[in-house]
């Protein structure tokens, strides 16, 4: 029932995409466009199939940077948010800076990472970590701010220690904020790794894309773009799935019964 409803609601979008692809295929065939300007979808599909294992290899490299950077960002953001919750002066000093830093295009710092750390994995991890850190930190801190003081009062009348209050009240009530930060971070993360690779790398989807572009293999550029898109979408879905797994209490059915 539910499945059918979701297929039905997605049907118009699927039809639209299919229509655009068909039109694209027909126009490129009829207009006789040079392939390096706009390859037909079928040509792109062939390129994707022919270089499948190569692309998987490069995607693996990019993915390593993404995961490493994301993990680093989560760790640092978590520690900072906890520290800021504990020492208010630290929060008073840092929080305004964190909010302002949201307006800085962090991607612009990418060249510095390459100057300082070379063309290996590390600078990509750092770029990803940088772009992911801010949305994660700001959301987590906001989450800690929103904790109901009454809940903390209640825990104090049970003589719970700080660590228990953190674990059983502050962290779980900040989780939804953490996950909305993580959704933003997940989309930034892939982009961050690609930009890092554009600036210099030995392997990765970004460098694959760059090489294809420089030799006018436009269908290969498209193929790598498709892989990047799939990777980003998969990441986003993965975050949604982990939110669903980690917060079972948020799985309220829409028609939950009242007493």
């Amino acid at each position: 029932m539910k499945k059918w409803a979701s297929i039905k609601s997605n049907l118009p979008s699927a039809l639209l995409i299919a229509g655009v692809l068909l039109l694209w295929e027909l126009v490129t065939g009829a207009a006789d466009l040079p392939e390096f300007i706009l390859p037909a979808p079928s040509t792109i599909a062939l390129s994707l199939a022919a270089n499948f294992y190569l692309l998987i290899g490069h995607a693996g490299v990019t993915l390593t940077a993404v995961l490493g950077g994301l993990a680093l960002a989560i760790l640092v953001a978590m520690l900072l948010a906890i520290a800021m919750d504990r020492w208010k002066p630290l929060k008073q000093a840092l929080y305004p800076l964190l909010v302002i830093s949201q307006a800085i295009p962090i991607f612009a710092l990418a060249p510095l990472m390459l100057i300082w750390f070379g063309v290996g994995l590390l600078p990509k991890v750092l770029i990803v970590a940088l772009v992911c850190f801010f949305p994660l930190a700001v959301n987590l801190i906001e989450g800690f701010n929103q904790v109901d003081p009454e809940a903390i009062n209640l825990m104090q009348t049970m003589q719970a220690d700080r660590w228990m209050i953190m674990r059983s009240v502050q962290l779980p009530s900040a989780l939804p904020y953490f996950f909305s930060g993580l959704k933003i971070a997940a989309t930034y993360s892939v982009l961050g790794a690609i930009i890092g690779e554009w600036l210099g790398a030995r392997a990765g989807l970004g460098i694959y894309m760059l090489r294809a572009m420089n030799s006018f293999r436009t269908s290969d550029v498209f193929a790598s773009i498709i892989v990047v898109i799939i990777l980003s979408l998969a990441f986003f879905k993965l975050v949604e799935l982990s939110a669903w797994l980690v917060m079972p209490w948020k799985r309220k059915p829409k028609n939950s019964t009242e007493d």
Binding site: E150, N153, T157
Partner: protein, 253 residues
């Protein structure tokens, strides 16, 4: 000579500050609860009843006055007391069992031991088949009972209950009152109870303090000499009606 009071509030005055605004809420409130007594604070909404409970628990520091628990001064220092806040405050991210086990875990019990203790208590609270439900899956009455169970598992003889039944419909509310009296009789706790319902106050209490409108002042202290165990039949008794008139007058002035 009187025994040492379980809870004693002496001349409590309290003010809230929001920005430049200062809002005096309590003006020289005094009250006491002896061991095993069921004492109620009755007052209109906004008169500072919740503030009295928070002050008694040591969660708020009053401008003036002292709080003594078992003869020891505890003013402004959070104490181990069975405090049940006005909202039930079951944590949505924990199941009923996990919520109820919190006081035991805070007292450093092992998880298995804590859960076993909760499971053992669930039938007393009529919750035996709901251990693994999340709060949003429970009815209002079940949530209140779960919150009371959690409060009961706090290892303290003193319970501070803030309008625990205010959000319930009349029928559920009456059942919960009988049920609370039953639990209170069984576990021999001292209770400071807050309500704005006259009937509820008379039905439950040994003694009632009426608090005036904000800033809350002691308006009346009245012992309730109705026989225990109490049953619904006393609601129709002459004595009950007399008490009720006393409180209506006290709240009106």
């Amino acid at each position: 000579m009187r025994l040492i009071d379980k809870l004693l509030l002496e001349g409590i005055s309290s003010t809230y500050f929001s920005g430049e605004q200062r809002l005096p809420v309590l003006d020289n409130i005094s009250l006491h609860v002896q061991a095993g007594e069921f004492v109620t604070v009755l007052g209109p909404s906004g008169s500072g009843k919740s503030t009295i409970l928070k002050t008694a628990a040591g969660l708020l520091k009053p401008d003036r006055g002292r709080v003594l628990i078992g003869g020891h001064e505890t003013t402004g220092t959070p104490q181990l007391v069975g405090y049940m806040p006005q909202q039930d405050l079951l944590f949505p991210w924990k199941t009923l069992k996990q919520n109820a086990a919190l006081p035991l875990l805070a007292a450093k019990s092992g998880t298995g031991e804590a859960y076993a203790r909760v499971e053992e208590m669930l039938p007393v609270f009529g919750l035996e088949s709901f251990a693994d439900y999340y709060p949003f899956q429970l009815s209002g009455g079940m949530r209140q009972r779960a919150a009371l169970l959690r409060t009961m598992l706090i290892e303290s003889n003193l319970m501070l209950l803030d309008e625990p039944f205010a959000s319930l419909d009349a029928l559920t509310r009456e059942n919960m009152q009988d049920w609370l009296l039953d639990i209170w009789g069984r576990f021999k706790r001292s209770v400071l109870f807050v309500t704005h319902s006259i009937d509820e106050a008379i039905y439950l209490s040994d003694r009632i303090y009426v608090i005036s409108e904000r800033p809350g002042k002691n308006a009346l202290e009245q012992d309730i000499e109705l026989p225990r165990p109490r049953t619904k039949s006393i609601l129709a008794s002459r004595n009950f009606a007399t008490y009720k008139q006393v409180f209506i007058n006290a709240l009106a002035s």
